[in-house]
Assembly symmetry: none
Homo-oligomer: 351 residues x 4
């Protein structure tokens, strides 16, 4: 099976390409990037494929069965839509797109064309997250009534002044970039309940003064672009009522509190779980009149490899994965509602 990688930046090189190379059923035929150097660098580094700068060239090759979209968020929707119409299966990085309108268009085209459209909500392939879903489904937590989502960092604005911090490109900041993972984990573990109300606020406070933003390290880019744009949320909070539990959200790419608190608390009447994001989890409960807690031990597999392998498998078998665009719709709509509520400073009903 021949595939193409559209966008040869950080996430492509760190995760998608190595995972495709390890999958025995796949050959990477194209590396596509609007920056020619990046496409050529990939060909040279991985010793395979052809470098192209226009993704339409890829779409015209009938040998290509599927592609990964690893571009900035603003071109997720157009590329995915064009690809599906060209009868390519698509694995599109998260977030699905910048806005709920764009996501709805992607869903519409997926339903029309019947091509696979998976979103890179890679935590659905994470060993801890899968186990937490098992615990909740098996009733170990009893009635889960509240979830607290914390994705707070001291200084983690990515490439300040670049595409990540430009609303027209990224669609948003901390919420759309980090929050999407956390909210998706919550939705997945809870069985994707519908959203009822959303009240949220976003803050653009620490990054807006690009030249004077103090940091000790930065990801995606190592230096600030002082002539760039910063018009996204560096911090967000929300209270969400769903058909299932209430969700309280508190996230920050940057804040003047020097802690890293990145976890999700699932609170049930019989038990609770704290997921250390990216790591293991702890179960809390009671039995025989005693309080108990423990951290299950298990082997962690590579969630990106799992995601790519599952994508390849579903292209070949037609299986619908938990990362299908349909399942991601709830989170996309919820994030849109947080941004809308923040703009209007009032709660929004979605039911």
């Amino acid at each position: 099976m021949k595939v193409a990688v559209i966008g040869c930046g950080t996430i492509a090189n760190a995760e998608h390409i190595p995972a495709y190379l390890k999958n025995p059923h796949v050959e990477i035929k194209y590396f596509c990037d609007i920056v020619p150097e990046r496409a050529h660098a990939a060909v040279e580094k991985y010793q395979c494929g052809t470098a192209v700068t226009d993704y339409h060239a890829v779409l015209q090759d009938p040998e290509v069965a599927a592609l990964s979209i690893c571009t900035p968020n603003n071109v997720h929707a157009p590329i995915a839509i064009d690809a599906m119409r060209a009868e390519k299966h698509v694995l599109c990085e998260k977030p699905a797109s910048r806005t709920w309108d764009e996501v709805q268009e992607m869903i519409r085209v997926q339903h029309e064309t019947g091509m696979t459209l998976n979103i890179g909500v890679v935590n659905r392939f994470n060993d801890s997250v899968r186990r937490i879903k098992q615990y909740i489904d098996a009733g170990k937590l009893g009635h889960v009534y509240h979830v607290y989502v914390s994705f707070r960092a001291h200084r983690s604005i990515p490439g300040i002044g670049g595409p990540f911090t430009t609303r027209a490109i990224a669609g948003g900041g901390a919420l759309i970039d980090w929050g999407v993972h956390y909210l998706d984990i919550v939705m997945y573990c809870l069985g994707d309940p519908q959203t009822k109300t959303v009240s949220g606020e976003t803050f653009c406070q620490l990054g807006r003064d690009i030249p004077d933003y103090v940091y000790t390290n930065m990801w995606s880019s190592r230096t600030r672009d002082v002539n760039g744009t910063y018009d996204v949320d560096d911090s967000v909070t929300a209270l969400i009522r769903t058909e299932g539990p209430v969700i309280t959200v508190h996230g920050a790419w940057a804040q003047n509190i020097g802690v890293k608190e990145t976890y999700i608390d699932f609170m049930g009447d019989k038990g609770g779980i704290r997921l250390d994001y990216g790591g293991k989890f702890t179960f809390y409960g009671a039995e025989f009149g005693s309080l108990i807690s423990y951290q299950p031990e298990f082997e962690m597999t590579d969630m990106f490899q799992n995601e790519i392998d599952a994508f390849v498998d579903c292209v070949q078998t037609g299986k619908k994965l938990p990362s299908h665009i349909d399942t991601v719709a709830v989170t996309a709509r919820m994030m849109q509602a947080i941004y809308d509520s923040a703009a209007r400073h009032e709660e929004i009903r979605l039911d």
Copy 2:
């Protein structure tokens, strides 16, 4: 100056009585409790005063200038109102009362009678809290845009089945009992901004099965009352927009997450502060291109003693304290709105 203590339970014996005894201007003339043994025990223990069971007896004594109300919440309002009408000055334990209606009535009578009515929002006399207010007033945090309030414990329901867990007596649970302190600190430090919107949810999950509630220790009472009532919130979350910062609230007397996270984060664009509730605080900021953080060192004085001394002083001088019922009104109204929003499952506007 002669005073009386109405209600001779835990808070009276632990804080009010010892503080009055240490104040050189005061003599305790009455210990009043509807349980005669408790009143007599106080007389015997402190070797002063007279034991009475009906607070009206105290109100009729013209020698009594002031009194502390240390009773369950349901009689805060009637005793305070009767006392002011009998021309006594009043220090009433927190919360002011069970509902915003009751508090409004207390305010009305205070304004009519002109007597002092202070509420036991004792953290306004705490050295850390006072300093944080100074930092914010001095602009060290810049624009404070968000406050996160966490008062979460693993197992801390007080006297399950007793007055603390009975709505008709206490008015509520974790929010009215613990949250009142945290929200009051926030209001005090921020200069008492008006509330605009409140969206909240309360949960009654862990305590409602009184016989099977598992705990390793319990305050206020050491054993459960299996025939008692549990109809209050053991957990609460809210998102509050004010004229100043947004406030996110997350509190629990009990939860199936085995952590104690009791702190308040004040997030500003120039700096931030985490207050370790009951302890010191840490300041986070940036200067000369570096990130900095430090915990100021200072002596902690006894905030209850400060409160009592200030009350005695204001009775004698007529000074208006930051714990005056007027300043507490904002928090009382906010808490009522959280309970109302939780009941209706929708956001409430207060502006």
Copy 3:
């Protein structure tokens, strides 16, 4: 209810007497000890009772309903037997007696007289032990196939040269003094299965040279008696087959390995428990493909108080306790078999 304490040494003063004093239904009428000073010291210290040196005096007082035997092991049987024949209920310290023959005689007289005869297997009133029994009974460990009993200390010979180290008085050493507790816990938690085979060895190696035995501290007596006797086991090992699990025993009052390893491992096919003797326990298991372990949290009550309270209650109600001499017979017979196997250097069958 009037009781007497026979033997006013360490265990009486540390545990029995304080527990009787805290029990509201009991009055201590006699303190009996063959050393008059010890009996008088008790009367003075506890401000109650009469000092006597001959226990027959106690037996003749019809007011005395029950008594605790806190003497050396060699007089457990004669006093218990005389007491039951005098229609007194008896709580006799562990071990029941020095030999299985003596224990059988005690059982015979208990059955004849119908008086209560409980043995001080106090761990049957310990919160950890009781919970472990619940875990096993509830099937949390699955099939329990092996138990490893470790009561190993570096230097803990009690009062070397005194009654504890004299076979004619104590009946044995480390096994009869410490092992009795461990084996009794195992028997209790497993539902008292019958013993099938016993192969054991005892060692008298470190204590036999009384003057040169090196230690840093010593219990029961603070100094050695160089003219005393040391003819008991300071170390023991055994392999026991029961109708339930196999038990491996390894214990030492003293050994030239500088560790304190005092625990019991219950190994089942679904889960296992390590009891930290005198403390809490850890559960090990597997669920949802993960390995888990945790230490339940609960409040530890005073097991000696529980024992005394239960004894008083059973004297008044006739209830049969888990510490009844009948339930202790299995362990007494097993210990005898270990000593016999060690003497003959071969396995003994008991079925």
Copy 4:
């Protein structure tokens, strides 16, 4: 000197081959494995020798002086016997063979042919073990009366479902695979005393449900063979009386107790030693009225290199090594007796 390696699996590649390659007197002429790929892979990897699949081809080559047997246990005896009869010297991996009968046959043929037959009891070439033997021989421990052998792991079943867990191939499980090393160390340090009685029990509890056995990692193979066999002991305990000390054995490849306790305690009346298996050791004693303990510091050499070097030397000089089959006979017979005792549930006499 030309040698051959029979069986090119884990132990051959990890230890035997590298050690032969470092020995200046040796050239590997054959890599033999019934799986041709493994033999060829060795030739390619080490750039020497010839790949063969039938060991008889090796035996017919008069140039080959000696060979290492690194096969599964079931072919140890036939290959060793054929090799000696073909006048080859043999270094056979541990255990000597699956049963005592097979070992006796190997001894018989060794005596007949006079060829060297060493067993891979490699700890006899370990620096800690050799030093412990020196301590005991020099009388530093006094009379060694008891040895406690612990080889307990939480989850360490090797290649579940494969040759290690199939009795017909391996002869046994935890005892024959791990226990052989520990018992051999004990025998070596104590001067190979004869066994008098053996009472043992083996347990096949955690591994028998191959699909549901939970582990976080596994050696020898990374994945389970769900269609394979598991009919060996995952746990064992025994009490052994010898002409010297009593030995208590407790070992487990897997158990529901989450500890790794792999050590041997030598208990003497003057001193004791705890050997941390695979590492250093601690000496405990007393002198001048004080208790002392220390861990000797010394350089650890590669015991496998020592073993191979000694084998090469003894082939050339005819020296009899401490790993000669004669010295291993005691342990082989003892292990057989543990399995026999476990099968009959009673003690076995060997004297």
